[in-house]
Amino acid sequence: MCGLCGCESHLHGPDHDHDHGPSSHRHVKVERSLLEVNDQRARALVQRLEALGVEAIGLLGGAGSGKTTLLEATLARLGDVAREAVVEGDCATDLDAQRIAARGVRVVQVTTGALCHLDAALVEGSLAALDLRGVARLWIENVGNLVCPAAFACGESRRAVVVSVAEGDDKPLKYPALFATADVLVISKLDLLPYTDFVVERCIAHARAARPGLRALPLSARSGEGMEAWLEWVEKRA
């Protein structure tokens, strides 16, 4: 509210000159989120998937954090791959989709071009090319990016944010917005720990500053360490 004239407008600060424009101008209160179009579409997508008996899990993290390798190792450990399906988001190529398809898992690649993140409309559109019959879990691997995907829900019910030992334990401190949306923190490439200055506890503390109480799962898709706890989270066994 304008402190000088008491008008409801946020359009001017306390030092404004009281020029509210010509008297024909009027003030309109809107108070709506710029993200609501995507948010509404994402909520509708969650409901549509739930009605099909499908839960979507978002995999997010920087480029090279090990999202696809984690997904491959996860699919290899889950019993029935016919119950899994994958949406792969990348700026270019279908290399990730090829890796997933090689495991006999249904997958669709979304190539975003210059776009830095997936959104609900992109995921919704991609599902036309994906047969979800018999599928219980849809993996949505976002474009490798610690910034932009934070604000755009994609139809996932839960979000796993992946940060690798190789990236450094300060990433949650530098990119808090994404970690604030996480339902679980995955610390990947744990087998590289001896070769870095990464401190697992420090990384977890930084992530919890963005999201208090966030569950953290350090693991190595390569060695298998920590994978059981991750699978428990995926399958909601713990």
Binding site: H10, L11, G21, H25, R26, H27, V28, V30, R32, A150
Partner: protein, 80 residues
């Protein structure tokens, strides 16, 4: 960077609110940008005049208010 896309969402919201009011033109808009929203106010300011070209918000003044949270809101407008 996705500020141009968000700018189009902003204009979409603004034009719908304008139509609901029976207005013709948007002269000013006030937007709240939270620090955790992932949006750079500078990029929004740069994209706005370009995205607004040819719309009822052509030439409108954009005022951005920074807050601490994740909000990204069109708060209010001055219209005629």
């Amino acid at each position: 960077m996705h500020e141009a896309k968000l700018c189009l969402s902003l204009l979409d919201l603004a034009e719908r609110a304008l139509r609901a009011e029976g207005g013709q033109r948007i002269h000013a808009l006030s937007v709240e940008v939270g620090t955790l929203s992932g949006v750079a106010p500078e990029a929004l300011e740069a994209a706005f005049p370009i995205c607004a070209r040819g719309t009822p918000a052509h030439g409108a003044r954009l005022r951005i208010e920074r807050t601490e949270g994740r909000e990204l809101l069109l708060r209010d407008m001055e219209v005629s």
